[in-house]
């Protein structure tokens, strides 16, 4: 359990609470027994379906019941339904999970059920005897909105970010990766400490570099500019430093390295010694790169002798 404050209760209050809970417990156990015994008997009917919904509303983490519900759909309900009915059923399953997710945004089983629903949307409706994929298109497009709403509520919810990536990778008409880059810019602009957004940006950029849609050299320069804005705003923010370290890579680009050393020197000058904590490892890494790759470069040895005394020994 997380984030539950300790609650010291008197023995009387505790006894009262247990009395109140007794009927809830009896109800819950009776419902559980009912559902699990039907599962054992492989009952795929409408009654069982309704019971699973009741149980999952009380306890959305009951993974066995999610499995059972999907089995009822697959083995009991779908075989007796037209494609249109299946589409409607899955749309209402998706609605049900949206409600569940708003209350339980971090429960894996709910997100999994959503994916299953999407993957089972039929190819129709048929237009002149050919599956039009319109149902899929409509359902998948909606999913991006769901992911965005969840991220608006909690920009660090990794379930929502994972889901967003899943939708982008699997929707029938793909969005261009450049629009995802813009999405991360918006999220980072809203909060420089949004590590999840920086992470997403690192993935999106690699995709754009590898596919040739962005020139890695120019792009890296743009990224250094973006991250230096973040660093000047808050030199203590680890997101920007970690991203910065990644951009430096193995330090082969001399011009970039020179420029970044300049930036760090300026920041160091403005910071009291206590703030070196955050920069300690990064600087030592840069020194390793510098000494290894550019050891004969006089600017580097100047820099090293200037900042080396300010690095606290680990």
């Amino acid at each position: 359990m997380h984030n539950v404050k300790r609650n010291r209760q008197t023995p009387e209050a505790l006894a009262e609470k247990k009395q109140r809970e007794k009927s809830k417990i009896d109800e819950y156990l009776a419902l559980t027994d009912d559902v699990l015994s039907r599962n054992k008997k492989q009952e795929w009917g409408d009654n069982a379906f309704e019971l699973t919904q009741r149980l999952l509303q009380i306890n959305p983490e009951f993974y066995t019941v999610w499995n059972y519900r999907r089995n009822i759909l697959l083995n009991g309900i779908f075989p007796q339904s037209t494609p249109e009915q299946i589409n409607n059923l899955l749309s209402s399953e998706l609605s049900m999970t949206t409600t569940a997710l708003k209350a339980n945004p971090k429960v894996y089983w709910i997100w999994n059920h959503r994916r299953w629903c999407l993957e089972n949307v039929p190819d129709g409706p048929e237009r002149s005897g050919v599956p039009s994929m319109e149902w899929r298109q409509a359902n998948w497009d909606k999913e991006l909105f769901v992911a965005e709403r969840m991220l608006d509520a909690d920009a660090r919810n990794f379930h929502a970010w994972n889901y967003r990536r899943y939708v982008l990778a699997n929707m029938p008409t793909r969005r261009p990766e450049t629009s995802e880059l813009a999405y991360t810019s918006r999220k980072i602009g809203a909060n420089f400490s949004n590590f999840s957004a920086w992470h997403q940006r690192s993935k999106t950029l690699v995709g754009l570099w590898e596919s040739g849609q962005l020139d890695p050299i120019q792009s890296r320069d743009d990224e250094f500019e973006l991250v230096s804005n973040a660093l000047y705003t808050d030199p203590d923010d680890q997101s920007a430093w970690i991203y910065h370290r990644w951009l430096i890579g193995s330090g082969e680009n001399k011009a970039q390295l020179e420029r970044e050393i300049q930036l760090i020197s300026e920041l160091l000058q403005e910071q009291p010694d206590s703030k070196c904590e955050r920069l300690r490892w990064l600087i030592s890494q840069l020194l390793i790169i510098l000494q290894g790759v550019w050891s004969h470069w006089s600017t580097i040895s100047d820099f090293c002798s200037k900042i080396a005394p300010r690095i606290p020994k680990p």
Binding site: V4, N112, H199, Q200, Q285
Partner: protein
């Protein structure tokens, strides 16, 4: 607030866990029961009180969760088999010296959750279980390592799936999996160890990723990865110990996610595991790769090159 570990209170807390049948929350967590038994038993082992719970009752419970159709273990009687509960079952039976009760061939064939997840946690469960059962040869090692590689991020960390943000829990399971497979060469050690050491907050506690709250369970996820990579000294151990000890419930026993919150068996075992790795006096050595007593893992010939802090005598 306590500045020392109140072992007798925690032993009593764990012994009393099965007595909460008059609390609704006990029944609502049935889907975690197998895990909870493993957490409780491991905690008792770390405190040197492994006989505090009845061995036969525990073995009977584990075997009552056998899912005959799937050939693996569920979390509770009549719950579907899952890798999470199957690993816990194997670990419990090993600690109770009762592995002969298991149909090992069937467990090895276990398909896990029928609706398919590729979360790296489940990869770890499979590799860990196969390793404990002496059946690692059943695994396609290259495929497993290749998938973990895809889950590696710009910060050196690992996510739940390819593309997912680094999270200390996922880092722990990926590093441990790579350790079991003798493939720690896949880890960007300097970068990852930096990211891990950045998890420590001014209050001494550890968080799971940037800008998140401290939580006792990260004492294990972060520390185990650091000890496998030989960099436990990169964390301030005094401050972390003080933090864990301050999260103890000095009335009812047990350890919570942070000071002032309700304790639970999950945070109890991971707080104790963290303390053991930090060399806290009078605790038993714990193997961070398997999260089990080190002596049991050594006897199986499975010990890898991890390093804990020296156990203090007082």
């Amino acid at each position: 607030m306590s500045t020392s570990l109140i072992v007798p209170l925690h032993v009593a807390y764990i012994r009393a866990l099965g007595n909460s049948k008059d609390e609704l929350s006990y029944h609502l967590s049935a889907h975690l029961r197998m895990n909870a038994v493993y957490w409780g038993l491991t905690a008792l082992f770390v405190m040197g009180h492994q006989d505090a719970l009845d061995r036969d009752e525990m073995i009977d419970f584990v075997m009552s969760c056998w899912d005959e159709e799937a050939g693996a273990f569920g979390a509770h009687p009549d719950h579907d088999a899952h890798l999470l509960s199957t690993l816990s079952a194997v670990q419990i039976l090993l600690m109770q010296n009762a592995l002969n009760r298991v149909d090992i061939d069937r467990v090895v064939k276990c398909a896990g959750d029928a609706f398919g997840e590729t979360d790296t946690r489940f990869l770890y469960c499979a590799v860990n279980a196969l390793s404990l059962l002496g059946r690692l040869d059943e695994l396609d090692v290259e495929k497993t390592v290749a998938y973990i590689r895809r889950c590696r991020n710009f910060d050196g960390g690992f996510g739940a799936v390819a593309g997912a943000e680094s999270h200390a829990g996922q880092v722990c399971v990926c590093v441990a999996t790579l350790a079991i497979l003798d493939r720690l060469d896949e880890v960007d050690q300097p970068t990852l160890c930096w990211w891990l050491s950045e998890r420590q907050l001014p209050n001494g506690g550890l968080n799971g990723r940037p800008e998140k709250l401290e939580d006792v369970c990260y004492s294990f996820w972060v520390l185990s990865a650091l000890s496998i990579l030989g960099k436990l000294t990169w964390i301030d151990s005094n401050k972390l110990e003080t933090f864990i000890l301050s999260a103890q419930d000095t009335e009812s026993g047990g350890i919570a996610d942070r000071p002032g919150d309700m304790p639970d068996v999950f945070h109890t075992v991971f707080g104790l595991a963290g303390l053991s790795l930090l060399g806290y006096p009078a605790l038993v050595d714990l193997d961070p790769v398997y999260c089990m007593p080190a002596s049991i893992i050594e006897n199986l010939g499975l010990r890898k090159g991890w390093k804990a802090l020296q156990r203090r005598t007082s």
